[in-house]
């Protein structure tokens, strides 16, 4: 990419940007944060000393060109990165101030508190709609039928899917349309009662109407959860996110309130990316 030749140094964002952004609003604490996070895929150094914070009950979008490390970052937040053979991380990732990579913390517990929705909808193909939503609970030992029923009902309602599937709970999970499948996956993630929801380009495989439904959903989800959404669609970030972080080559370049970042970005690199001059 010729851009790298023209930018002398890529300057990471000022860490005070996190405190500064959102001045004048009542905001909760930082639910999750990373401190000098580094991540490798084998020899490939993907994230470089990345320090970023995510405010509770807000939607934070992560944008950046392909290969900047967005997906790797969120996979580090729920300890999914380590499942890849040859993957390595150093640095700290804190959830409510507690280090999630410490030896005393079970990765499985982290993943129950930090849920994830993937790019391509992936409901379990051999299970019905009901079983899909209940999977996270059933396969973790919950047997009480009433509890399961209640959880399925609530999750499907919170994912704005209940009305469409309430009479078809026994239908196969994969018989739904793409947008419905993605909302099913969201319901499935919500059923385990996470505190943080990570979304890796959740709408990129969906048509505009399905996308709009999910974007509407996000604004209601943030009342209860902290949402981090990776997106390559800047307009989507502008529509749904309260805060936006711009990543480039594994470093945080800029962070701020979405309206400010999109109206007058402070870094030239951000400006060039937003106006489509590269990436």
């Amino acid at each position: 990419m010729t851009v790298e030749l023209q930018i002398e140094t890529v300057k990471p964002a000022n860490t005070q940007a996190f405190e500064a952004a959102g001045q004048g609003k009542t905001l909760g604490p930082f639910k999750m944060q990373t401190d000098k996070l580094n991540a490798w895929f084998g020899q490939n150094h993907v994230l470089k000393d990345l320090s970023i914070k995510f405010r509770e009950n807000q939607v934070t979008a992560i944008i950046g060109p392909s290969g900047c490390g967005k997906s790797t970052l969120i996979r580090c937040l729920n300890r999914m990165h380590e499942l890849v053979p040859g993957a390595k991380t150093t640095g700290n990732v804190l959830l409510d101030g507690v280090e999630i990579y410490s030896r005393r913390v079970d990765a499985v517990t982290v993943r129950r508190r930090v849920g994830m929705v993937f790019q391509k909808p992936n409901p379990f193909p051999t299970m019905s709609v009901y079983d899909n939503v209940a999977a996270g609970l059933k396969l973790n030992g919950v047997r009480n039928q009433e509890k399961l029923d209640q959880a399925v009902l609530n999750s499907l309602k919170r994912a704005a899917l209940w009305d469409e599937v309430k009479n078809d709970l026994d239908k196969s999970g994969v018989s739904l349309s793409g947008g419905q499948q993605q909302r099913l996956c969201i319901a499935r993630a919500l059923a385990v009662e996470p505190e943080v929801i990570l979304m890796d380009e959740p709408c990129s495989a969906l048509d505009p109407i399905a996308t709009a439904k999910i974007e509407e959903l996000l604004t209601s989800l943030k009342e209860q959860y902290t949402v981090v959404i990776v997106t390559h669609n800047m307009q989507q970030a502008a529509r749904v996110a309260d805060f936006t972080a711009f990543l480039y080559l594994g470093q945080l370049i800029e962070y701020g309130e979405t309206t400010n970042l999109f109206e007058k970005p402070e870094q030239e690199l951000t400006e060039r990316y937003l106006t489509g001059k590269f990436g």
């Binding site: 999109f262 109206e263 400006e271 489509g276």
Partner: protein, 211 residues
């Protein structure tokens, strides 16, 4: 790397430049004609109307670009400012039109003292010129200079009005017509500073408070 939107932005820019040249001419012609007592109403009316139509076109193009390309950052600021600046240029035309109208209403004003008008008129003409320059060069220093010059025109206007209010007498026709002209010149100066503000917004994203 040329983007799809660049063509639209270039068209927008050239339309603004057209308006700039036209409004400059309009203002200069109107002021000079007043001082010389010439009747240029038809020409000025024609140009002013052209400016209004151009402003509509700029507005439409700007909205089309926003709808199509969903621009952000400097592109968005530029398009937004173009809408404001085109409005400012159309206002130049409108006030030039009003200035040209005064002679038509009052008839012969060759006996009136036009020194104040001459001063203010020179300032206004320079300011229109400078505002156009600020836009084409994206020059923020010129923008701040415009603020200083605006104060001068404001003072000329205020002084004249206060004097006329406390010392009634003298030729009523001259007083009223001069008040009107100075008022229009003051508004032209104000809009020239607004153009300067828009240029500042394009370059840095800062917004200055309107006085």
């Amino acid at each position: 790397m040329a983007r799809l939107m660049d063509m639209g932005l270039d068209r927008l820019r050239s339309m603004i430049l057209d308006m700039a040249g036209l409004s400059n001419n309009t203002v200069t012609t109107a002021i000079d004609a007043y001082e010389q007592g010439k009747d240029v109403r038809t020409t000025i009316f024609g140009w002013s109307e052209e400016l209004r139509l151009l402003q509509d076109e700029v507005s439409e193009l700007a909205v089309e670009l926003i709808a199509r390309y969903q621009p952000v950052a400097s592109d968005l600021r530029f398009i937004k400012s173009c809408m404001e600046i085109s409005y400012g240029f159309s206002r130049f035309g409108r006030y030039a039109h009003d200035i040209a109208d005064v002679l038509g209403i009052f008839g012969d004003l060759s006996t009136c003292d036009k020194s104040m008008i001459h001063k203010a008129g020179d300032q206004a003409k320079t300011m229109v010129n400078l505002s156009i320059k600020a836009f084409t060069e994206r020059n923020v220093e010129l923008a701040s200079k415009l603020n200083e010059m605006d104060d001068i025109v404001d003072n000329i206007y205020m002084d004249f009005v206060k004097k006329a209010a406390h010392n009634p007498g003298g030729d009523l026709k001259c007083t009223v017509s001069a008040t009107l002209i100075l008022r229009y010149l003051e508004r032209i100066a104000d809009h020239a500073t607004y153009v300067g503000d828009s240029v500042l917004y394009i370059v840095s994203g800062e917004r200055t408070a309107r006085k």
